[in-house]
């Protein structure tokens, strides 16, 4: 066991430190799941109460953008895992960095597509209260669908941005200082777990937003 400056005083071994960090992230994700879960619960409550209005409102979502983002995120989870895989292997630090850069790139691509989609949404007048036009069949409950849309995708985008920030922190700080090695790459795994969670949230939001009313 290398005499590591990275070993914190409260841990006995780097292995304990790394495992504990991962457990910490999993437990944090329980908390995040419940946070998004409460929102999705509210959504489902109103979806079941006003099925026609929600279906009518959901027809105006930009399907290609949502689907493209779905593919982008799932791919980015793959590249994230490939990066971690590379980190575990002595000979391939450049591969790890490469996959991480691809992941960051896909993250930015998601945000770009989302940003363009928001622009289209504004043009289509689906911003509740501020810039909203009631479409036929929506009634007053349709606006609630759009409230859910903006809140859910907004919160998701914030979480994704934090994820990109963490990846950049890994690339520009920890990896540059040589702190991620095959002997200890737990911080990268922790970021990877978080990244997969952000991806999973989109897996739930996607059908709620884009597939309702299109079946």
């Amino acid at each position: 066991m290398p005499a590591d400056a990275r070993l914190e005083i409260q841990f006995a071994t780097l292995e304990q430190q790394g495992d504990t960090a991962q457990v910490g992230m999993w437990i944090f994700l329980v908390n995040e799941t419940i946070f998004f879960g409460a929102l999705i619960f509210t959504y489902f409550l109103y979806r079941l109460t006003y099925p026609h209005e929600f279906a009518a409102a959901a027809k105006d979502t930009v399907f290609w953008a949502g689907t493209a983002n779905f593919v982008i995120l799932v791919t980015s989870s793959l590249t994230m895992v490939l990066a971690i895989n590379a980190a575990a292997q002595e000979e391939r630090p450049n591969q790890m960095i490469g996959w991480l850069i691809v992941t960051v790139g896909l993250g930015f691509l998601f945000l770009g597509v989302k940003g363009y989609e928001y622009y289209l949404d504004i043009l289509d007048r689906v911003v509740p209260v501020v810039h909203f036009e009631v479409k036929p069949g929506e009634g007053s409950a349709g606006e609630l669908f759009w409230v859910f849309y903006w809140i859910a995708t907004g919160l998701h985008a914030i979480h994704l941005t934090v994820g990109i920030g963490l990846l950049l922190y890994m690339l520009l700080w920890r990896i540059r200082r040589g702190e991620i090695t095959p002997a200890y790459y737990a911080p990268l795994e922790v970021v990877g777990i978080y990244w997969s969670f952000v991806d999973t949230v989109w897996l739930f939001l996607y059908p709620c937003i884009y597939l309702v009313g299109r079946s």
């Binding site: 070993l7 914190e8 005083i9 409260q10 841990f11 006995a12 071994t13 304990q16 495992d19 504990t20 457990v23 910490g24 437990i27 944090f28 329980v30 908390n31 995040e32 419940i34 946070f35 998004f36 879960g37 409460a38 929102l39 509210t42 409550l45 109103y46 109460t49 006003y50 209005e53 509740p128 209260v129 501020v130 009634g139 007053s140 409950a141 606006e143 609630l144 409230v147 809140i151």
Partner: protein, 556 residues
Amino acid sequence: MSTTTFEGMPATEPRAATEPSYLTSENTIASWLFTRDHKRIALMFFASVTFFFFVGGTAATLMRLNLATPQGLLQPAVYNRMFTMHGIIMVWFFLIPSIPTTFGNFFIPMMIGARDLAFPRVNLLSWYVFNLSGLVVLFALVMGGADTGWTFYTPLSTVYADGYVFAAAIAVFINGFSSIMTALNFIVTIHRMRAPGMTWMRLPLFVWGIYTVSVVMLTATPVLAMDTFLLAFERFTGIGPFSVQHGGDPILWQHMFWFYSHPAVYIMILPAMGVVSELIPCYARRPIFGYTGMAIALMSLAILTFFVWAHHMFVAGISVYSAILFSLMTFFVAVPSAIKVFNWTVSLHKGRIIFDAPMLYALGFVLLFTLGGVTGLMLATLAVDVDLHGTYFVIAHFHYIMVGATVSAFFGALHYWWPKMTGRLYPEMWARSAAILMYVGFNMTFFPQFVLGYLGMPRRSYTYPVEWQSWNVLSSAGASILAIAYLLPLLYLGWSIFFGRKAGPNPWGATGLEWATPSPPPTHNFGDTPIVTLGPYSYDPENDTFIDQEGVSHAR
């Protein structure tokens, strides 16, 4: 769970005897503000929660002064904002954080034989986030306060209220993250960093209390975060899931709010129960009665608490069948609490009881908690709740638990662990007097409120019909006594820091790994990893001794 203890610690620490304590090791402001030491963070939290306790207490003082006469003292708008801010500040800025962030932070690592929590920087961040939320709530308060009650019922809070609802909701939203971070830290620490030999069933019950409360905090607080977010959104934009105009249901807010806030009240009591389970064995000089039952009771409370929320809504218009179900679940959740009361009481049997201040607080806790609990049974009874809901009976019930029980436990813990934290002994006679005064003042303040509730006095009222004045005057008089009892510790504990007698490592002859360190402890707690061989509370009342981890008997 496979063994999560570790073999040995890196031998990097100097001898404990000459090592400076955590208080004096470095003394710049930066060394405190950027500390990673759980003990310093605990003291910083102590300062924050005490500050908010007095802010919330000032609001309460103004309220009770107002209620001494029907004509009152405050303008109605001011009174309404006072009780709202009193509730928000006391719940989120005192009761929920108090015991976990002060005594939990300080003693969990020590009790399990660790050198710090799993994530010390997250711990520090939690304090900063807490203070950030504190700044927002103070902003809301100073600007005039929110005026909806701490429960923010819609559509009053979203549409009709005049006050600073948005700011108050954001303050609570941010505060939730502080809770979540603390809870996460405790869960991971207790799972992964126990010393060799410290199995789950050898953990002190205070650790069980903090562990179970952390599970509840972690699971319930995100719902509050989403609730306050949606509330703030709807307040700001005029549209949201609670908006009647858009087909929303105002009762949805109540369901979502109480889904968090009922577990929240258990968040407030579980650590207090943990504290009392430490105090009674120490001052009765015998092991707790039914340790396993006590641990199981804590876990049952943590689980059952999620299934009772709609007992706050029996008159709100939920279906009779739902109401019956929730009432049944509420009776179930009362059972573990009752078991704990019996076990604490019987833990006095064949002990060698000492009546120091912490024990007075602990015994007071048991009685006040029991009274609060039986009145809770009355509220759980559907037909009686129809009459009592929304009246002063409910106020009296929850103050018996939150103030009578939790605050007593907080003060008990403060006195019990004071020598360990500060290295000084407090003056015992002053402490006992304050404890007794608190008990008397408390009962005088809140018992009349049960009567007022059955008479029909609604809560959240700045005035009342004149025939109810006598009970209100009695209550206000009690509050003045209670205020003195709360101020006294500030004085004599403060005095003891400078002039109190120096304390040795174990002034009470208590068991528990924290008492095996100097008072105050060094920064890294333990030089060598302790090895645990005994369960907690290895007191022997027959011979009036206690046994340490090496098997040696000591007199008190």
